[in-house]
């Protein structure tokens, strides 16, 4: 049995995943300790659970002892795993916020952008989330920071 519980009622994001329909991971950000094989198992399970759902399902899935908030954009599934008592609707907005930033940063982002610039995608995540919490929500601010970081390269 995988130990996926932190202290009871800990409202932390457990992980953020971006996967395509075939199951390939484009981003995996973990905010909790997992073994490599645990991580692999989780990725496979999330993929299995999320891809069978279609438009008539809600964007929330009960998963083990918490839940996944997800949304599909073209061929990619953006999933955030949170505590069962968390506000579903707010995280749905957070996902959308994140996607809009990606879109702006990569100028009409597509999957290949995420593949070839995977380390930049992590940078975007780190600008918007930290320690399993939402950090910065202003798209303009985030984009400004990202451009600054880019200029340092």
């Amino acid at each position: 049995v995988l130990s996926l519980t932190v202290q009871p009622r800990c409202k932390i994001i457990r992980f953020i995943l971006i996967q395509n329909r075939a199951g390939k991971t484009r981003l995996a950000k973990w905010y909790m300790q997992f073994d490599d094989d645990e991580k692999q198992k989780l990725i496979e399970e999330v993929h299995a659970v999320v891809t069978v759902r279609d438009a008539k399902h809600t964007n929330f899935v009960e998963f083990r002892n918490f839940k996944i908030i997800y949304r599909r954009y073209a061929g990619l599934y953006f999933c955030i795993c949170v505590d069962v008592t968390d506000n579903n609707l707010a995280y749905l907005e957070a996902i959308h916020n994140f996607v809009e930033v990606l879109n702006e940063y990569f100028h009409n982002v597509c999957e290949l952008d995420l593949v070839f610039n995977f380390y930049k995608v992590y940078t975007v995540v780190d600008e918007m989330f930290l320690a399993g919490e939402i950090r910065e929500t202003s798209q303009t601010k985030v984009l400004k920071q990202l451009l600054m970081l880019q200029s340092l390269e």
């Binding site: 609707l89 995977f118 202003s138």
Partner: protein
């Protein structure tokens, strides 16, 4: 050695692979090249190589040999190196790796770096995956950065502090001074992360919680500004100003207001304002409203506000977006016990959700519907629920059927309706009904005497249609066995009686015996039913034949029954009519002992129960366990005490009158306890239907000059007994023998053993708590013989 290939090129190459094997080959080749490059200690290309390694790691290939290289990159002076190094650390170096700690020094240096972006990288890494040791070492640096004026760093430092507190809760105190001015920030990002930090601290420590309560007015002000302010392009989402911050503030308010009257009052207005002013056309607004509802329900809000919250949820139910409906149903389920009437108003919308397409919505709607059923709406609700039962997924059927049975039992408007409903469930979802419902139903049918003819007729007709659903078949066989005479005599009043002969009935029952669809249990039922009909029908020979055939059945259970019934026909024929006569009305067994009494757990929600009425009934279960220990453990059954003391129990008074009328069979009363002015007397009575139960009433009187308040009486008995304590008449034993506290104890003593009891008394006398234990062994023999 040629320069290692660029990251882009590698990615492109790998993507051209057509099979998994081809990809693996490419990866292996590249890994080998990278390994030799690492061995050469080449600084220029290290960054590129690690980036490639990370990409391959993301595809699922092992990359641990790059761990040390990440460390070297972190230690480098170039920003591009550091950045890939830290990313590598976050991806490859979790707490379990030995080299993890080596990062500590690098991070420490980088936290003090001159460039904020490097400091940012360090904070980010520490905040995402720092171990407890690292957090301990570096907490001081984080605290320093929390006080800096650079908002970019302050945000990161705040969340990093959250991570530190999660890992090492003892360090929370350290961050307290830095939190003083956090909320006066104008920068939304800092404000947001500060609220997160405060939330984390309040959730973890009750002291912090009380300390931060004084921030409520400030939080209310900030929230107000957010709502009232005009368009702010930076934080706007669909016309709403920084919804994420609003949600976080609402959550913090919830934690601060919970259980505290003053804080709750201070936030009442703003909550009402948010609830009424937020735009609901998009998901954003609804997210805020949802958080508001959660807060209103959790704090001590006035009833008007609560009704407002439930109405918001009701509106959510009508929303087109299924996400919102789902969220509403989940919350309504949580509040239906406490705000029952308010939720009732939305019943029809909830019932509509039974027809939704999403499985999780349907399930919640079903649970809610059952919670809302009452005597007034039972007919309408049941119609909907039965319709739902017909069409729902198999996973739901068992739960739905059980729910329907429970609801029908509690609120059935008439016996006929009840039986009809049961019939409907059995015929539509018969195979999903739980096993224990069969005996329950049989009991129900037995007790509805006037409906016997109607019931057996309907069941018979159902059997003619379908014999595959075992619970239905079992109940039907039993009924036919019992009431077959009513069936053939055509006595039904409720509907048109059918014409059926004895042979036809026996045909059906015999059909069950031979059918492949019948389980062994069902066969047993039908054989017994056939046997019973021997006293109700006249075709004795046929029945005898059937019974004797099964005397050699392979099924041992059937064989045994058949052989015994055969014996009934032969040697014991004189007993047969008496043995097989109509079953009497069955009473539901009342002697289930402690499991039937209501248990208060110590976590009773203080907003529901008025705590004034429950002085000392907290955690009776643990006190019962104390008694267990005292009695030497093994031979005692713990007692669970009932809840709120009600008005003076009339049981005591009636008991005394009864005793006055009874003649020689009276059991003498006894003094169980006499100490410090407190006298406890036991008076006895036999419980009429069951002679194994002794009903003891305790009378506690107080001859001292001060009242004994918060009086609690507890008792424990040896294992062979079962004990049930009912509510006491009050908790105060008045002084000067001016009155008494009475309480009824029922003791079940099936083995007629000598009654022993250990009692524990707790009360407050003249301001100080008193506790005493005593053994009661002087029970009069008549009380247990």
């Amino acid at each position: 050695m040629p320069a290692p290939i660029r990251l882009r090129e590698l990615i492109r190459t790998i993507r051209t692979a057509r099979t998994q094997a081809e990809e693996r080959e490419m990866i292996q080749k590249e890994c080998a090249a990278i390994r030799s490059s690492f061995r050469e200690e080449d600084n220029t290309y290290r960054c590129r190589n690690v980036a490639k390694l990370l990409y391959m790691h993301m595809l699922g290939y092992p990359a641990h040999f790059g761990q040390l290289e990440c460390l070297k990159l972190i230690a480098s002076q170039k920003f591009t190196d550091k950045r890939i190094g830290y990313l590598g650390a976050m991806l490859l170096l979790d707490e379990r790796q030995d080299v993890h700690l080596l990062m500590t020094n690098c991070i420490k240096n980088d936290l003090n770096h001159s460039t904020q972006y490097v400091q940012g990288l360090a904070l980010c890494t520490l905040g995402c995956m720092g171990s407890s040791e690292m957090c301990r070492d570096l907490a001081g640096e984080v605290e320093k950065l929390l006080k800096t004026s650079n908002s970019y760093l302050r945000k990161k430092a705040a969340l990093c502090a959250v991570h530190v507190i999660r890992k090492v809760p003892e360090l929370m105190e350290m961050f307290l001074p830095a939190t003083k001015n956090l909320l006066s920030e104008k920068n939304h990002g800092v404000l947001h992360t500060s609220v997160v930090l405060l939330t984390e601290m309040c959730e973890r420590s009750p002291d912090m919680l009380s300390h931060f309560r004084k921030l409520v007015p400030q939080l209310v002000r900030i929230l107000k500004n957010l709502i009232m302010s005009g368009y702010s392009p930076e934080h706007d989402v669909s016309g709403i100003s920084d919804p994420f911050l609003q949600v976080r503030i609402l959550r913090l308010l919830r934690i601060l207001g919970k259980g505290d009257d003053d804080s709750s009052e201070a936030m009442n207005d703003i909550l009402a304002q948010v609830a009424t002013n937020t735009e609901t056309s998009k998901n954003v607004g609804n997210a805020i409203l949802y958080e508001t509802v959660l807060t209103i329900m959790d704090i001590k809000s006035e009833s008007g506000l609560r009704v407002l919250a439930i109405n918001i949820l009701g509106r959510f139910l009508l929303n087109n977006d299924k996400n919102i409906r789902y969220v509403a149903l989940t919350s309504l389920l949580k509040t239906v016990q406490t705000d029952h009437n308010a939720v009732q108003r939305h019943r029809s919308t909830i019932v509509d959700c039974l027809k939704d397409l999403d499985v999780s919505i349907k399930r919640r709607a079903m649970e809610l519907s059952f919670a809302l059923v009452n005597g007034n709406n039972i007919r309408g609700m049941m119609k909907e629920l039965l319709y739902f039962l017909d069409s729902c997924d198999p996973d739901f059927k068992a739960d739905c059927a059980s729910g329907i049975f429970l609801a029908a039992e509690k609120y059935a408007p008439s016996k006929r309706w009840h039986i009809d409903t049961i019939m409907r469930v059995l015929t539509t979802a018969g195979s999903y009904v739980r096993d224990d419902s069969v005996p329950n139903l049989i009991q129900l049918i037995t007790n509805s005497v006037e409906m016997h003819a109607y019931t057996v007729q309907r069941l018979y007709k159902a059997l003619l249609d379908d014999i595959s659903q075992q619970p239905l078949v079992q109940v039907a066989s039993w009924c036919i066995g019992e009431y077959g005479d009513l069936l053939v005599s055509g006595q039904c009043e409720e509907e048109e009686p059918i014409q059926v002969s004895e042979d036809e009935v026996l045909d059906v029952l015999e059909g069950l015996l031979v059918s492949n669809l019948s389980t062994p249990v069902t066969r047993g039922y039908s054989l017994t039913a056939i046997m019973k009909l021997s006293t109700r029908f006249s075709s004795l020979n046929r029945i005898k034949k059937v019974v004797s055939i099964y005397g050699s059945s392979i099924d041992v259970e059937l064989q045994q029954r058949a052989v015994e019934y055969n014996a009934l026909f032969k040697k014991y024929d004189h007993m047969r009519p008496a043995l097989l006569e109509r079953m009497p009305i069955m009473e539901k067994t009342a002697t289930n002992g402690p499991s039937e009494t209501v248990q208060t757990n110590g976590e009773t929600d203080s907003t529901i129960l008025d705590t004034k009425h429950l002085p000392s009934i907290s955690q009776p279960a643990s006190q019962a366990n104390d008694l267990l220990d005292l009695l030497g453990g093994n031979d005692v059954v713990p007692i669970i005490q009932t809840t709120v003391p009600t008005k003076p129990a009339s049981a005591g008074g009636e008991l005394l009158d009864l005793l006055g009328d009874l003649s020689l069979t009276v059991i003498p009363p006894m003094t169980a306890y006499n100490k410090n002015g407190l006298i406890i007397e036991f008076t006895f009575e036999r419980s009429n239907p069951n002679p194994n139960i002794a009903v003891i009433t305790i009378h506690a009187t107080n001859s001292t000059e001060a009242d004994m308040t918060e009086f609690v009486f507890q008792a424990a008995v040896p294992k062979t007994f079962q004990l049930q304590l009912l509510s006491p008449s009050s908790n105060v034993v008045p002084a000067f023998n001016q009155g008494s506290v009475t309480q009824v104890i029922r003791v079940l003593n099936p083995q007629k053993q000598q009654l022993r009891m250990r009692i524990k008394l707790t009360y407050t006398h003249k301001g100080s708590p008193v506790q005493d234990l005593a053994e009661v062994n002087n029970f009069p023999p008549q009380s247990w013989q």
